[in-house]
Every structure is written in C-alpha cells, then in structure tokens.
C-alpha cells in the first residue's frame, strides 16, 4: 500500500534499499588483472601489425613509384610530390604503430586513483579529455597523414586540370566527404572544448576558494 511521500526519510530510504552482496575473490582479481594486460597486449599487437602493414604498403608505393612514373604521365615536380607523399604516409604509419604502443601497452599494476581527492580526480579527468581532443591532430600525427594524402592526390588533380570532369569524378567524392566531415567535426569539437574548459575553470575556482 502506498505510503505518504512525507514519511520517507531520504537517508533511511537510501541506506535501506536492497543491495547485492558482492565480493571478488583474490584469484578472480588476479585473473582480471592478467586478462586486462593480455587484452591490452593483443590490442597493441593488432595496432602494430596494421601500422607495419600500412608502412610496407606506402613504402612499396614510394619505392616502386619510378617504374610507374610513365604510366601516370606526371611532370618531375608532380612525380616527386607524389613520391614524397607516399614516403610521408609510410612514416606516419610507422609513427602511429609506435603511438598505439605507448598508449595501449599495460602500465604497472599500481593505480593512482586513490591518491587524489575526488575533486582533483574529476578535474584531472576532464583536463585529460580536453587535452586529448585538443592534441589529437598532433599526437596521432593526423596532420602528417593529411599532408601525405594531399601530396599524393594533388599531382593527379593538376594533371587532370584540363579535363575537369574526369578530375571531379576521380577526387570529387573523397573531397566532398572530407569537407563535410570537417564542417561537422570542427564546430562540434570546439563546442565540446568550450564546455569542458568552462567546467574545468569552475572546478579550479572551487579548488582555490574551498580547498581544505
């Protein structure tokens, strides 16, 4: 039978809610730690394999390019731009494999979640997220990747400049998708950054004013 809402003491209500007896055995905990490490190592191996694969593929493009030079019908400037583009992309692939290793490789077992107050941990969590999204272009080397792609595509675009229809057909769709992605991604990212920064500033002010 329903009781009066007035009769509910929130503390009593909260503390008397049914809970589940939950405890993990030492073996389960150790097993979980081992599984987490194994999972992280497998992720690193995958990322390294993809990085190595891309490195070989783009490297192959860089090495065999002189042989294909005539079939592309490019001038010397276009030839070197495209070739260096492949070189840049192969270096980027190598760097991303290494970057994946530094991010994903399991750290030591000790955890630092305990050493901070919850206010510090929350602020640092937000700062980490802000820095990640702010530096993603630099840290993942995406700028190098885009420059490499541009260097590979531009000579072909220049070659086809007298046949605009052919040029539009070959690079138009990719370019349109890229521009659309940028148009959505950049404002959204800026909005997120602004919100995160506001929250971080608020917490910093809080820490300054009310810290123990």
């Amino acid at each position: 039978m329903p009781t009066e809402f007035h009769n509910h003491d929130p503390q009593n209500l909260w503390q008397s809610q049914p809970t589940e007896a939950f405890k993990m055995s030492a073996d389960t905990l150790r097993l979980k730690a081992q599984r987490m490490e194994k999972k992280a190592r497998i992720a690193v191996i995958w990322a390294a394999a993809i990085g190595a694969g891309l490195f070989l593929w783009f490297g192959w493009g860089f090495l065999i390019f002189p042989e294909k030079f005539h079939s592309f019908g490019l001038g010397p400037a276009g030839f070197w731009t495209m070739r260096l583009g492949f070189g840049l992309l192969s270096l980027w692939a190598l760097y991303s494999g290494y970057k994946a290793y530094t991010i994903l490789w399991p750290k030591s077992a000790s955890s630092d979640v305990d050493l901070k107050t919850t206010l510090q941990a929350y602020r640092q969590g937000l700062e980490k997220r802000r820095d990640y999204s702010r530096n993603i272009w630099l840290r993942s080397g995406l700028i190098v990747c885009f420059v490499g792609i541009a260097m590979v595509l531009t000579p072909m675009m220049v070659r086809d400049i007298r046949q605009p229809l052919q040029m539009l057909l070959s690079v138009g769709p990719i370019l349109a998708i890229f521009i659309l992605w940028l148009a959505i991604f950049i404002p959204q990212r800026k909005r997120q950054q602004r919100k995160l920064q506001q929250e971080i500033d608020q917490l910093r002010e809080f820490e300054r004013e009310y810290r123990v």
């Binding site: 809610q17 589940e20 007896a21 405890k23 305990d114 929350y122 009310y210 123990v212």
Partner: protein
C-alpha cells in the same frame, strides 16, 4: 609476517565486507542500467584491490575506499560521455527545478517510487555534487566528506544545507536531517 600481497588481499576483503553494500549503492548513483552497473561495481572492486598495494594509512580506510570508488565512478561518467546529458549543479536544482510530486495526489507514493525519485535527482547532478549527496545519504559527517572530496568542511556544510533544502522540497519534512543527519565535525 604477512606478505604485501596478503595485506593487500586482507585489506580488500575488509573493505568489501564493511563497505560492500555502500559501494553497491554508490554504483547505483552513477549508473542506472543494471548490467553496466555490475560492470562498474566490478571495476570499483578491482581498482580498490589494486589500490591497496599503495595504502599507507595516511587516511582512514573509509576515506580511501570512498575516494577510489568515487574516482572510478566519475571516470565512468566521463568515459561514457554522460557529461553531455546536461548534468546540473545543486544550485540549479535548488533554483530552477520543477518539483515532481508537488500535488497531493503525487505525494502518496510507495517506497520504491520514492527511491526512484531520489535516484533521478542524484543522476541529474554533476559528479562533484553527486559525491556529496551520496556521502550525505550514507550518513557521513561533513569532515569525512571534506576529506574525500578535498573541499573545505565549511563548503561541504553549505552544500549539505542546500541538499537538505532540496530533499525537503522533494521529500517533505523528513528530508531535513532525517535519522542520520550530518554532523559538522
């Protein structure tokens, strides 16, 4: 003499025994979905176990346990991008929130509905205020909440005053202190 690993395990067992139910409730304050909540609870227990290799008794076991648990749960909120869900501060709830259950008809509700209402309120709060309200509901003194969060006891007392006012609006007179109250020690 027990090995470091044995100390770590025994501290974890002691914590799970003493604060197991409170940790379950804490997970409920951060995650509504039952399956994800179980994962979160497991993660909290796992981090607790790992953290005890660093436990140096500079603070009480309770403070340690709650810090780890709240930090893991807050990390969960950040990772799940729950921050996008327009979470609010206590101040916002106090000033702009409309009060469900304000009409006499809605006042008569059973305990599970009241609990659901309380959970809804908690889930709408930003992590820091959520930590404070959960600690308050667990009946912790302001000094202990201050130690966990890193905010001054005076600020915690101010927040608790707000919480009591809000709970009074949502739960009637009993919300003002209730059985446990919060001691300003």
């Amino acid at each position: 003499m027990p090995t470091e690993d044995a100390t770590q395990v025994s501290l974890y067992e002691q914590a799970a025994e003493t604060y197991g139910s409170a940790l379950d409730r804490l997970a409920r304050a951060y995650e509504l979905d039952a399956e994800t909540r179980r994962d979160l609870l497991q993660e909290i227990h796992f981090h607790l176990w790992r953290s005890f290799s660093n436990f140096d008794q500079r603070c009480s076991l309770r403070t340690w346990v709650y810090r780890v648990a709240h930090n893991v749960a807050t990390g969960h909120v950040i990772r799940q991008r729950r921050l996008r869900e327009r979470l609010v501060n206590l101040e916002d709830v106090e000033t702009i929130e409309t009060i469900p259950g304000n009409t006499p008809d809605e006042l008569a509700i059973d305990e599970s509905q009241a609990l659901e209402r309380l959970s809804t309120l908690i889930q709408r709060l930003k992590p820091l205020d959520r930590q404070i309200i959960v600690s308050y509901l667990e009946g912790m003194p302001a000094a202990a909440i201050s130690e966990i969060t890193g905010l001054s006891p005076a600020n915690i007392a101010m927040k608790i005053h707000r919480i009591k006012k809000i709970l009074k609006r949502w739960f009637g007179e009993q919300g003002d202190g209730g059985k446990g109250g919060v001691h300003a020690d």
